[in-house]
Subunit: 242 residues, 2 copies
């Protein structure tokens, strides 16, 4: 059974500083992943690599662009982050190979995502597909952003994944008193508590994340880096969703 | 109607020297492409970028590898070449975006290629998809090479392309007297004349190219860089195949 793990952009980068890795966090995440024994699909967000360029060029999940320079700037920055993630994993003997949504996904005129990747074959051959948030072609809009969260949800369905983990910059989803919520079963119960994220995030922050996770059949957990080893060991650290 | 143009690795690189561009040839090709007005899909071969690493790691269209370092070395070298092609095009205002087969294709246990790209949406939004030869996951074999020629044939079918052009390191297909053959309608008539290529080529050289082109419904032309402008103008320089 396949586990999908998303490394949030706010975990592996310094979101306040353009194109700055959080090397220590990335190393800790890679070490935890290297200890995992099983079929694993990795997805990562944009952090200060993708979001910075996306904002600059006015590109989001909804706002598109036909400007090839802007489209390529976002894609290229995401590749640089993807390369850093791949390097951290390969150094620790994780057989990680890159998958770029720009080469594998598109949106139709209604914004509906279609994603057709060779992830199953990559997995079956013992590699770890490592998928970046990206820009993708969008009918009528040029390119728009596809977020890590969207990719996680789509892949969980396609792969009939066993578990989904979102390793975030926070230890879980906070309630209005700042306590980590143990379990979220519906959006209405947490709507008041979910504000936007505290740094530029063109993909909607925690509220969008929770809505998307609730739409999945696969159980999910949102946790911080301290919870990653536990999640990979089969525990449910942080907030269970769904 | 869509035209598919393959830039051979022997045109845009110096095949005798590892990872060496032929800057002048690439600039000439990019300038000709910049003058073209219509839906265009670009594919390029590996030349001294991909083939060098593929040979070193024993990877070909048939011989696979489960070694992630080898797989990534070939892919990464092809990306460097793809980046150089993209840069040459973007400099001349061609809205080129990369498509990587590793993210979009796989082979089954019989070696059969499946390729599912967002190329149609990329085209419809006015961009020029620029697709590299690559390594792809191959059921039971790890990764194997997918050649530019294979990609051309598959895309021509999927896109119901109007014309296919292969811009090669030679002005066309030579007969046994070293004259360019005007038209090839069957492989048997040219088999004797088709030797291997004169530099490392893990994907079979001219013979494999011609066999693949003859299998297509779309008419193809094989020509040298001097024929590129004519091909894009609608002429049939070099050798017509099919």
């Amino acid at each position: 059974m396949t586990v999908i793990l998303k490394l949030g952009g706010s975990v592996i980068t310094d979101k306040q500083r353009p194109e700055t890795l959080d090397e220590e966090h990335l190393a800790r995440a890679a070490a935890a992943i290297a200890d995992y024994d099983g079929e694993l699909v990795l997805v990562h967000g944009g952090g200060s690599f993708g979001h910075h360029h996306a904002s600059e060029h006015g590109i989001s999940s909804e706002a598109g662009s036909h400007d090839v320079a802007g489209a390529f700037a976002v894609h290229d920055a995401m590749r640089r982050l993807n390369d850093a993630v791949l390097a951290a994993l390969q150094e620790r003997d994780v057989p990680a190979l890159p998958v770029h949504p720009l080469s594998a996904a598109a949106r139709d005129g209604d914004g509906e995502l279609s994603l057709s990747t060779p992830v199953e074959t990559i997995l079956s051959e013992g590699f770890v597909p490592t998928i970046q948030a990206d820009v993708i072609a969008h009918t009528g809009a040029g390119v728009t952003v596809v977020s890590g969260d969207e990719l996680v949800v789509e892949l969980a369905e396609q792969l009939d994944a066993e578990r989904v983990g979102l390793c975030a910059g926070v230890p879980g989803v906070f309630d209005e008193e700042g306590q980590v919520i143990d379990h979220i079963e519906s959006f209405a119960t947490v709507q008041a508590a979910l504000g936007g994220s505290d740094a530029t995030d063109v993909t909607g922050g925690m509220a969008a994340k929770i809505r998307a996770l609730l739409d999945m059949d696969t159980p999910a957990s949102v946790f911080g880096l301290d919870g990653l080893e536990g999640f990979l060991d089969g525990d449910s650290p942080g907030t269970r969703v769904g």
